[in-house]
């Protein structure tokens, strides 16, 4: 039986092409690797090599023919010992019609429509209330304690980053860790974010549980390929075989007077990505409990801290086994008139705004999102069903920001309960200025939040 030579697909998008030229004539001997013909695709002119040996029995598509469909027979190859009479037996009827060139993805292309959107449908994990003794800790101390406790608990946990060991942390988060755990587990890296983020991901692929500290998340832009393409996507790409149990942590957002390249909130960037978890705590208790959960989590977690918060003190449960589930928001102040949702440093400003509003007779409910992916949409929706109004506050820019996502979710899940449009309070849409007065203008303040709350309450 002669072998059919089919019109090959020569690019990811090719469905048909022009048979430009035959390099072999009928009757010619063909060896594997011989150039058979030239074909013009949508991208280029390509040579087609023979993959089987034999003799070119018959050319079915003449050179110069346009619009030859992929997989249409273009010639017949006679195998060893066959003569031309075998050509009559060739099953030409089985040749696929031009339109049926297989496009592997086409059949399943409709699936996403019916799909759940994972970022919005996180099951709310159980959270235990702490009624035992507590201790006053700064956010800085809480983060350190979380790492130290997890490193004591699991020898596979280690910390790497710039100045985390001998210098005790650029922001003193890793104070005392080198002394307790030694240089094997508390590792000073060169200034090489792209490289050490990748090294961390490799170690995580192999089963270690790295905590990678970025001195600030501004510098993580150097490493973003490994966070996105290596850490977040590999579990999916490997069909569930290879996970990245890694934490990327460090200060995010504006500090004070460090200008544009050192003052940016990256929350919405990382929140965009399936495969990543993203947390951004405000209080020391949540910082500790969430960091411990992040270290134990088998997925890559981006842990966004805030430099301004490091020195602030909170009551923290006095135990070495305090964890806070990732994916659960927290109502930090109950209220009935308007919901104010925020994360990280803006929670404090939201509470400040709520105090001011209370003085004017408006009771605001303040929600600390704590986790951005998965996002606890249910807690926000439940609150909006009660207050019928939502203000969202963030340091980041408005365009495609966290608030934009929250506003869309309210359209989808709480439209009928809203008595006013969702109002966003965001960072000014400019690179961060250096001058003190301009910087203050660029960052959302408690007064801006209170003002927005009054607007959605239609209060003067």
């Amino acid at each position: 039986m002669p072998i059919e030579i089919l019109m090959p697909a020569l690019s990811p998008t090719m469905t048909e092409g022009k048979l430009l030229k035959w390099h072999k004539n009928e009757g010619d001997a063909v060896a594997s690797g011989d150039v058979m013909a030239e074909i013009e695709t949508d991208k280029a002119t390509m040579e087609v090599e023979a993959v089987e040996e034999g003799k070119l029995g018959k050319i079915l598509v003449a050179e110069g023919t346009d619009n030859v469909a992929v997989n249409a027979p273009i010639a017949l190859l006679l195998e060893d010992g066959e003569d031309a009479s075998a050509l009559d037996a060739a099953p030409l009827a089985t040749a696929p019609a031009p339109a049926t060139a297989p496009a592997p993805a086409a059949e399943t292309a409709a699936a996403p429509e019916a799909a759940p959107a994972p970022a919005t449908s996180a099951p709310a994990p159980a959270e235990t209330e702490w009624d035992g003794p507590s201790v006053t800790l700064t956010v800085r101390e809480a983060l350190r304690d979380a790492m130290a406790e997890e490193m004591r608990r699991d020898p596979d946990v280690f910390l790497m980053g710039e100045e985390v060991a001998q210098y005790q942390g650029a922001y003193k988060i890793s104070q005392g860790l080198l002394e307790e755990f030694g240089a094997k587990r508390v590792i000073d890296t060169p200034i090489t974010e792209h490289g050490f983020a990748g090294v961390g991901v490799g170690a995580a692929f192999y089963g270690l549980k790295p905590i990678v500290e970025f001195m600030t998340f501004n510098f993580a832009m150097q490493a973003v390929d490994h966070i996105v393409n290596s850490a977040a996507k590999t579990r999916y790409m490997s069909g569930g075989q290879v996970s990245s149990p890694i934490v990327f942590r460090g200060p995010n957002g504006a500090a004070a007077r460090v200008a544009a390249q050192h003052s940016q909130c990256y929350a919405s960037w990382y929140m965009h990505l399936p495969g990543l978890k993203v947390v951004a705590p405000w209080s020391a208790a949540d910082a500790k409990g969430l960091l411990k959960s992040a270290i134990r989590d088998p997925n890559p977690v981006v842990f966004l801290e805030n430099e301004v918060m490091y020195g602030q003190s909170f009551e923290v449960p006095d135990t070495d086994d305090w964890t806070v589930p990732i994916g659960k928001a927290k109502i930090v102040r109950p209220g009935k008139d308007v919901t104010i949702a925020a994360f990280s440093i803006m929670v404090g400003k939201a509470l400040e705004a709520a105090e001011a509003l209370a003085a004017e007779g408006i009771e605001a409910e303040v929600i600390d999102l704590r986790s951005l992916r998965p996002l606890d949409t249910a807690t926000i929706v439940d609150s909006v069903k009660k207050t019928n109004r939502l203000v969202f506050a963030e340091e980041g820019w408005p365009s495609a920001g966290v608030g934009a996502e929250i506003a869309a979710l309210m359209m989808e899940h709480a439209f009928d309960w809203l008595d006013a449009p969702v109002k966003r309070v965001c960072g000014a849409d400019v690179p961060m200025p250096y001058a003190a007065n301009l910087e203050k203008l660029a960052l959302p303040q408690a007064t801006n939040i209170a003002e927005a709350a009054k607007q959605v309450c239609y209060a003067k």
Binding site: P8, N71, G198, G202, A203
Partner: protein, 306 residues
């Protein structure tokens, strides 16, 4: 080597039939590199590479059926059809990808070597990269850390002369790549990557160096790919004569065949027998890959999170 050659020829053919989609980077011509290196390591060692990864997986002992079914995007593939040609893994065989971003595998491999050392396993990570990847900054970040921390990693540069369509002369200020670790004190050697025996010998030296705790080692393999960068490459950046000359004079399979017949006294019939066996393995893989079902629609949302 023959299994890789025939597998890749079949993959090219199946791509032409529309059974394999997207990008498909064939390894034809470079077979001696992975086979020689595999002969220099053990099962506890680890391997990872870029997107031209089919040969590395077969050399590692991964099932050709699972690799081919991943190329066709079927549920029997190593990544259940969700990774494709460039993204496959086998923890069982110590293969850590299959990475689609040029040079991203270099710090990752360095990190796996870090884990080998952390766990005190006496294992070595072979991290493959090409003559294109060698110009990425993260390669040198990795070299620095690997040398600084004395990590058990062997960087195998597969210098096939072309970074996609850019010849090494047009992309690299210096075209000999084995000394690229010189600034970090990493020893390097140039190897005829078309000679499987030479690769094995050089590989054994490099692996022994890394395993003994002396840190990283660089091997520059002079090799050549016969096919285009990917399936849609018309290869206008080099002459047909150039390709033909390498095929005729340096082909790794033909060279080994010559050694076996002329020097080792192996009989022609034995080689024919290998031919037959390899053909059967590849045919079986292709059959499996065409008949394994596509992944279930429910797989769309699995494996995103652990």
């Amino acid at each position: 080597m023959l299994e890789i050659r025939r597998f890749e020829e079949k993959a090219g053919q199946m791509y032409g039939m529309g059974l394999i989609g997207g990008f498909c980077h064939l390894y034809i011509g470079q077979e001696a590199v992975v086979i020689g290196m595999q002969a220099a390591v053990t099962d506890r060692d680890t391997v990872l590479t870029s997107y031209r990864d089919h040969g590395h997986m077969l050399a590692r002992g991964m099932d050709p059926k699972g690799v081919m079914a991943e190329l066709t995007g079927r549920r029997g593939g190593y990544s259940k059809g969700k990774g494709g040609s460039m993204h496959m893994f086998s923890q069982e065989k110590g293969f850590y990808g299959g990475h689609g971003i040029v040079a991203a595998q270099v710090p990752i491999g360095t990190g796996i070597a870090f884990a080998h050392k952390y766990k005190d396993e006496n294992a070595v990570c072979l991290t493959y990269l090409g003559d294109g990847a060698i110009n990425q900054g993260q390669v040198y970040e990795s070299f620095n850390m690997a040398a600084l921390w004395q990590l058990p990693v062997v960087y195998v540069i597969e210098n096939n002369k072309y970074a996609m369509g850019t010849s090494i002369e047009r992309g690299s200020a210096r075209t000999d790549l084995y000394h690229r670790g010189h600034a970090y004190g990493i020893p390097g050697a140039q190897v005829d990557g078309m000679d499987v025996v030479a690769v094995k010998k050089a590989g054994e030296l490099a692996v022994a160096h890394a395993r003994s705790g002396k840190g990283p080692y660089i091997l520059e393999m002079h090799t050549y790919r016969y096919r285009g960068h990917s399936m849609s490459d018309p290869a206008k950046y080099r002459t047909k004569e150039e390709v033909q000359k390498v095929r005729q004079e340096r082909d790794p399979i033909e060279r080994l065949r010559g050694v076996l017949l002329d020097e080792a006294g192996v009989e022609e019939a034995k080689l024919k027998d290998i031919d037959r066996k390899v053909k059967a393995i590849v045919t079986e893989a292709a059959e499996f890959a065409q008949h394994s079902p596509e992944p279930d629609a429910s797989e769309l949302y699995t494996d995103v999170y652990a």
